[in-house]
């Protein structure tokens, strides 16, 4: 029965790819889903593309290892950045009608900055899709006994088929299907678990002391198992890593660019932010429950990453295990297809069309997009084996973000909000930030920072700071772009009246954002 449930899911996913294929007329359809999606579709895809390996197994493993403080990756490390993206950055990304973040960098800075970012981003997406593939294979291996190699190849094959057929539209439609499957497959875990352990109070009584607070034990790094104090959390996670990912990573931004108009593109991240507030229910709480119900992980025995699959095995009867497994699989596939579509767009639009074949026709670009999806899936099989060599998926991902997204955030922040930033200031700031990150990663041992997580957080802070300062310094001595060229590209030079139609107060992005902020404050007080 479990196999049947998985097979049905695969059939659906591929079927959607075939249906959508007939609807792809232009490269805009393939890479940007025709810019026709309502806010709820873009919003669910926005959050679903991020609900890959990190969200499910990684966060659950983190909660098992560090306690409820892991929720900071949502409430501090995602929601504020998502609100900032929606209110201040989307008018620029969407308003400039760019296909990708590297294309925005070309508009704001120069071709060199776009090229640098496109190459690095393309490499990062392949490394990240390998993580999802490895995590998926791990699940198959543990719960169904399949070999890791077979599982990796099967998942790559399925994603290659449906993404190459329907491009971003197919990817987005499947991501939304996957979003609902994830919720329906995993929601029972906290319900059953909390009722078994005696609710939240019963749970907090049975987990180690300090594991149930998010701020109370952060006065010093030594007070909490994550090994990071409140300042490190706020600067490293809450500011650099979080804003670096949510405001610059094309994987998520691409989903918002598929919205049908600027209001929808702003509401899409807001919908995602609201979902992030409640996502700990299926991603963090199961990790805490696993401490009680599946004890002994990580003590020289099985990996923390197994907390979620083992909990599924603990609770679910036959058939329901199939649904739980399908939910996990859906998460990994949405994470992976997100990376693959982002890679395909950046490769085709920012690299191939710019440097290899500038005269390519629209139909040729669709063809190239399809080929690049297949190639990306093949390369991801290789990067899955790199992911296997890291002890924790979460640490591996955060290490990548600290090297690549953190400096990019400084480049985009200065570019969007300070018109004095110059093209070469942006380029040299970005490259110096990345080199600093790599140097810190290679030459400064983790023991210097305390824990792997602390190393990632502080590395992100220093790479951002370096990029920020170098961009400032170089901008002071190099030639700036004329103001006319920056119209619509820099925040101070956009015509807000033109893009922000008069909406009723309850429908304005700012109203939605304020409601989310109020909820955020409430949950922080409750779980302080």
């Amino acid at each position: 029965m479990d196999y049947l449930i998985i097979v049905i899911y695969f059939v659906f996913v591929i079927f959607i790819g075939f249906i959508v294929r007939k609807r792809v007329r232009t490269s805009k359809d393939f890479f940007l889903a025709g810019r026709s999606n309502p806010s709820w579709i873009s919003g669910l895809a926005f959050i679903s593309a991020n609900m890959g390996a990190l969200e499910l197994m990684g966060m659950c493993a983190g909660a098992y290892e560090y306690g409820f403080i892991q929720v900071q990756f949502y409430w501090l490390g995602a929601v504020p950045a998502i609100l900032f993206l929606a209110l201040f950055m989307m008018p620029l990304y969407y308003g400039t009608k760019v296909h990708s973040v590297p294309e925005y960098l070309k508009l704001r800075y120069n071709e060199a900055t776009r090229g640098l970012n496109a190459v690095i981003f393309a490499g990062m997406t392949l490394l990240l899709s390998g993580i999802s593939m490895y995590a998926l294979a791990l699940i198959f291996n543990i719960l169904l006994g399949w070999s890791i190699y077979q599982s990796i190849i099967l998942s790559a094959l399925i994603i290659a088929v449906y993404v190459s057929l329907g491009g971003l539209t197919s990817s987005i439609y499947n991501e939304i299907l996957q979003f609902f499957l994830i919720w329906f497959g995993l929601l029972l875990l906290p319900i059953l678990g909390l009722s078994e352990v005696g609710g939240w109070e019963g749970l907090t009584n049975r987990i180690p002391e300090g594991f149930s607070h998010i701020w109370a034990n952060t006065a010093t790094a030594a007070q909490n198992p994550m090994g990071v104090d409140w300042l490190g959390l706020v600067l490293g996670l809450g500011f650099v890593l979080s804003f670096g990912y949510w405001c610059t990573d094309f994987l998520v931004i691409q989903r918002t660019l598929s919205a049908k108009n600027i209001e929808a593109s702003q509401k899409a991240p807001l919908i995602g932010g609201a979902i992030k507030l409640v996502l700990p229910l299926i991603a963090i709480i199961p990790g805490l429950l696993a401490i009680v119900l599946v004890p002994g992980l990580g003590e020289g025995g099985q990996s923390y990453n197994l907390a979620l699959p083992l909990l599924i095995k603990h609770y679910f009867p036959p058939a329901m295990i199939g649904i739980g497994l399908t939910a996990l699989m859906a998460g990994f596939m949405s994470g992976m297809s997100g990376n693959i579509t982002a890679f395909s767009t950046v490769w085709t639009d920012d690299l191939y069309k710019t440097y290899v074949n500038p005269k390519a026709s629209d139909q040729h670009l669709i063809w190239m997009g399809r080929i690049s999806v297949i190639v990306a899936c093949i390369i991801s099989v290789g990067t899955a084996f790199i992911a296997m060599s890291f002890p924790s998926i979460m640490d591996y991902m955060q290490a990548l973000f600290s090297l690549i997204n953190a400096p990019l955030f400084a480049t985009i922040l200065l570019g969007m909000f300070w018109k004095r930033t110059t093209p070469w200031g942006g380029f040299f700031g970005l490259i110096t930030g990345i080199i600093t990150g790599i140097a810190l990663f290679v030459f400064v041992p983790v023991s210097y920072f305390g824990t792997v997580m602390a190393a990632n957080i502080w590395r992100a802070w220093w790479t951002w700071t370096t990029c920020f300062l170098v961009t400032l310094a170089v901008s002071m001595v190099t030639k700036r772009k004329p103001e006319a060229e920056l119209k619509g590209v820099v925040y101070g030079l956009i015509d807000k009246g033109e893009i922000q139609k008069k909406l009723p107060w309850y429908s304005r992005p700012i109203t939605w954002a304020l409601i989310i902020v109020a909820c955020l404050i409430i949950v922080n007080i409750i779980f302080f």
Binding site: I8, R25, S36, P38, F184
Partner: protein
């Protein structure tokens, strides 16, 4: 009165979501009922039954409210005409400006 169609056009997600949940709901509830009639030690089939029925209900609602495949081609054609109209309007506007 005309039924309110879901917002997206030529491929309706609610249709897929509804269909998938109906199938899963039937499979889950069916398995649960089978195990409740043929009990096996250590298997709590009630979870399958109530969660299966829940998924079935959600699936049925979505399926009912969805835009069916028979309408997709029509919607696709309309969207194509709209695109052509938009393109023609652009050309017309440019010509007017030039004049």
């Amino acid at each position: 009165m005309q039924k309110k169609q879901s917002e997206n056009t030529f491929v309706d997600l609610k249709f897929f979501l509804g269909l998938l949940f109906i199938i899963y709901g039937i499979l889950l509830a069916g398995t649960g009922i089978y195990y409740s009639l043929n009990p096996v030690v250590g298997i709590d089939s009630s979870i399958d039954i109530y969660w299966g029925l829940f998924m079935l209900a959600i699936g049925t609602i979505n399926y009912y409210k969805s835009n069916k495949p028979s309408n997709w081609n029509k919607a696709f054609a309309i969207s194509g005409i709209e695109q052509i109209e938009k393109r023609l309007k652009g050309i017309l506007d440019e010509s007017v400006e030039e004049v």
